[in-house]
């Protein structure tokens, strides 16, 4: 204030207008940091609380998996992210470590499955095209088991069936896989109702086991005696009705498939339990055959070559296939010191008695019946089925002339007597003929023939020297006789002239006689009265 008068050039300083104090208490400013701390703290707490479990998944390769980028998705919804990818200590697998959402924690159970989704082109379609641009992701299928776990083994191929699809799984046994693949369709009345979920070679390599999945509600059509067959490709058949082409669908034509049906006369309509085992037949015809529930095993011992006989070859009874060859072995018979070939066959007696369905198939006197039949000549024989390929089959028939045989009921399986095959019989006959031919003494026969021929030669020579000159003279005289006869018969010979003359006389006589006959006819009285004078 004291400086004021010393600065006269400073203009008058206006006085500020008093104002009311601030309406807001100044401490309110602290609400701002408080709010920031509260919000920040809440964010931090929720972040920590929402942090999900970390799991490890083992894959054969980590193809397409990038740490920090590859997502884990359930039904295409993000549920986690891959944090790191490392190689296992044994250098055999890749270990993917991933952080999952908090909500996924309770679904990390024993049968939860993980697999990598790449773009895939298979027979049943193209999948995962989106991954071409976005990169692969890991898909998860939630399991239902109770046991929790945090390390998983990833699947190399995506599972066909995910856990939440309703339906049932069944097991099929097939001789071979055919053209089936995972995802191949299963048809029921040409409607796709399921697919092949997995397949595996049997442990002993004798067949293939397939797992199929039938979607609900079609799974109830799989009854306990449903018949499954390969529906792959085209079934071309030529019969009396013409050419028939049967195929399930174009898709099955390309990628294979299988179909099933329930036999119409089937008694049970109850749906089969899950994982019921069925046989996968190769054709529909085969599948549609009567179910062979009763199987009887027999052994046939052959002493001849079984070339052309194969396991599975038919066993027929007068043209009806009633069984098949189960196995062919070689055995040494120490009693006879002979090598024999026991052939095991499976018989389906139902096929013979199917017309009498309902009757007890194995009557108590079947033993007696079989004994009687064997007595009457019931035998097994190898017969040629195909002359071109030389395939043979086993025929059961009655051979009334067969050697006597008896059944030994103590043996298991029962041995049925056999007779040599038709070809074998022919061979045997031929051999005996040859043997007989062999016995003919061709040498002595030859010597005899030689002598005979020599005798004949001397005989001929004698004829030539002794008979021929006489014969010549005889012929000469004969010729003379003939020439004189010829002369006698020539037209201008006196004999001929005389004969002609005589003949003319005879003709004239005949004419006269005719006139006489005419006259007598007209004048029969002339016989008595004589000829009247001519009125002329």
């Amino acid at each position: 204030m004291s400086d004021e008068p010393q600065r006269p050039d400073v203009p008058e300083i206006p006085r500020a207008m008093p104002a009311r104090g601030s309406r807001w208490p100044p401490q309110l400013i602290w609400l701002i940091p408080l709010a920031a701390v509260v919000i920040g703290g809440w964010l931090a707490v929720t972040t920590i609380l929402e942090r999900g479990p970390t799991i490890t998944i083992t894959f054969k390769t980590a193809e397409g998996i990038a740490p920090g980028k590859t997502r884990i998705k359930y039904k295409d919804v993000d549920v986690g992210i891959v944090k790191s990818v490392t190689v296992a200590e044994d250098l055999k697998t890749a270990i993917v470590s991933a952080e999952l959402a908090k909500a996924a924690e309770k679904h990390l159970v024993d049968d939860t499955r993980f697999w990598v989704v790449h773009a895939r082109v298979s027979g049943s379609g193209v999948s995962g095209l989106a991954t071409l641009l976005s990169g692969s992701h890991i898909a998860v299928d939630v399991g239902h088991a109770a046991a929790k776990r945090s390390s998983f083994v990833g699947l190399e191929t995506p599972p066909v069936i995910v856990a939440d699809v309703p339906g049932r799984q069944f097991t099929l046994h097939a001789r071979n896989l055919g053209s089936l693949d995972i995802g191949a369709p299963v048809y029921f009345r040409r409607l796709q109702v399921g697919q092949v979920a997995a397949y595996d070679l049997d442990a002993d390599g004798s067949g293939v086991t397939l797992k199929i999945f039938i979607n609900s509600p079609f799974d109830r059509y799989v009854t306990s005696d449903a018949r499954f067959w390969h529906a792959s490709g085209i079934d071309l058949s030529l019969d009396a009705g013409g050419v028939r082409v049967t195929t399930e669908s174009l898709v099955s034509l390309l990628i294979g498939g299988l179909a099933f049906e329930t036999p119409t006369q089937s008694a049970s309509t109850a749906p089969a339990a899950p994982n019921t085992e069925f046989i996968l037949f190769s054709t529909r015809e085969e599948a549609a055959r009567n179910p062979d529930r009763l199987v009887e095993k027999y052994v046939l011992v052959f002493r001849e070559s079984v070339r052309g006989l194969a396991v599975g070859a038919p066993v027929d009874f007068r043209g009806i296939v009633i069984g098949e060859v189960a196995s062919i072995n070689v055995d040494y018979d120490p009693v006879k010191g002979d090598i024999v070939i026991p052939v095991e066959i499976r018989l389906y007696p139902d096929r013979l008695s199917s017309r009498y369905r309902g009757r007890p198939t194995r009557s108590p006197d079947s033993k007696e019946l079989l004994d009687k039949m064997v007595e009457r000549g019931f035998r097994a024989q190898l017969r040629t089925g195909n002359l071109l390929t030389g395939q043979i089959y086993v025929a059961l028939d009655l051979f009334p002339g067969a050697a006597k045989a008896k059944l030994d009921w103590t043996k298991r399986p029962l041995e049925l007597p056999t007779v040599p095959g038709s070809l074998q019989e022919l061979q045997a006959t031929m051999a005996s003929v040859a043997r007989k031919l062999d016995k003919i003494p061709f040498d002595t026969l030859g010597a005899d023939l030689d002598e005979t021929l020599r005798n004949a030669g001397s005989l001929l020579r004698r004829i030539d020297t002794e008979v021929t000159p006489d014969l010549h003279a005889t012929l000469e005289s004969a010729r003379r006789t003939l020439s004189s006869a010829e002369r006698a018969l020539s037209p201008d010979t006196p004999l001929q002239v005389d004969a002609r003359e005589a003949m003319r006389e005879v003709a004239r006589a005949a004419q006269a006689f005719r006139i006489l006959a005419d006259y007598l006819e007209r004048h029969p009285e002339a016989l008595l009265s004589g000829k009247k004078e001519d009125p002329r």
Partner: protein, 211 residues
């Protein structure tokens, strides 16, 4: 003549912050209106230290999520990506754009941190009535105020990208929560710098000098 001169407040004169008119302080009230433009005037900004502290603490709190949370979420055909400031810096560095990387690092990480520490230092010095080198502290304050506007660089980049890259279905860029926090940090530090009354630096120096 001392180079600092006498504080106007000590002789009962107030300056209007808006029209810079100097007026005599009213005798009773601590608050008044400028007789020329009507703006609120004070001898010193009331509660300046407390207000600045509050804003500074808020900014410091938000500095954490600004660096931890993603500032940019890129959603394209090639995937979904979240980027924090630091991951962007690392990406730029590894992809070869070292200059740009350094620029972003300085603008987005160093500068806000520098502002926070500088303001904290200034506030602390005022709080403890320090008389230590008031001219240096005033220079520091000027730097802080000047530099403040440049630390919005990241937000600019983000805003431009969000506006430009918006091909629905092909690629979309969305600002993440980190961007909000970062923007808040920048705004709050600027507000803190504004609410800080640099005249306070001199007051204690004056008192100490006058004794």
């Amino acid at each position: 003549m001392n180079p600092h001169g006498a504080a106007a407040a000590s002789v009962g004169l107030w300056a209007c912050n808006l029209c810079k008119l100097v007026s005599k302080s009213p005798s009773q009230s601590s608050a008044a209106h400028c007789p020329r433009c009507g703006a609120r005037i004070h001898a010193r900004e009331p509660y300046a230290v407390a207000r600045t502290w509050a804003l500074l603490i808020t900014a410091a709190t938000l500095y954490v999520p600004a660096n931890v949370l993603p500032v940019m979420e890129t959603n394209s055909l090639f995937g979904f990506q979240k980027d924090t400031i630091l991951s962007g810096v690392v990406y730029l560095w590894t992809s070869g754009s070292r200059t740009l990387s350094l620029l972003v690092f300085i603008a987005s990480i160093t500068v806000p941190l520098l502002k926070l520490t500088s303001l904290a230092f200034l506030l602390a010095s005022v709080q403890f009535r320090s008389t230590w080198r008031p001219d240096q502290r005033a220079r520091l304050y000027r730097i802080v105020e000047f530099i403040g506007r440049w630390s919005m660089l990241d937000i600019y980049v983000g805003a431009v990208l969000v506006a430009l890259v918006h091909f629905q279905g092909v690629a979309t860029i969305v600002a993440g929560p980190g961007a909000t926090a970062f923007g808040a940090v920048v705004v709050l530090t600027m507000l803190a710098a504004m609410s800080f009354d640099p005249r306070l630096i001199w007051d204690h120096a004056e008192i100490a000098r006058v004794g």
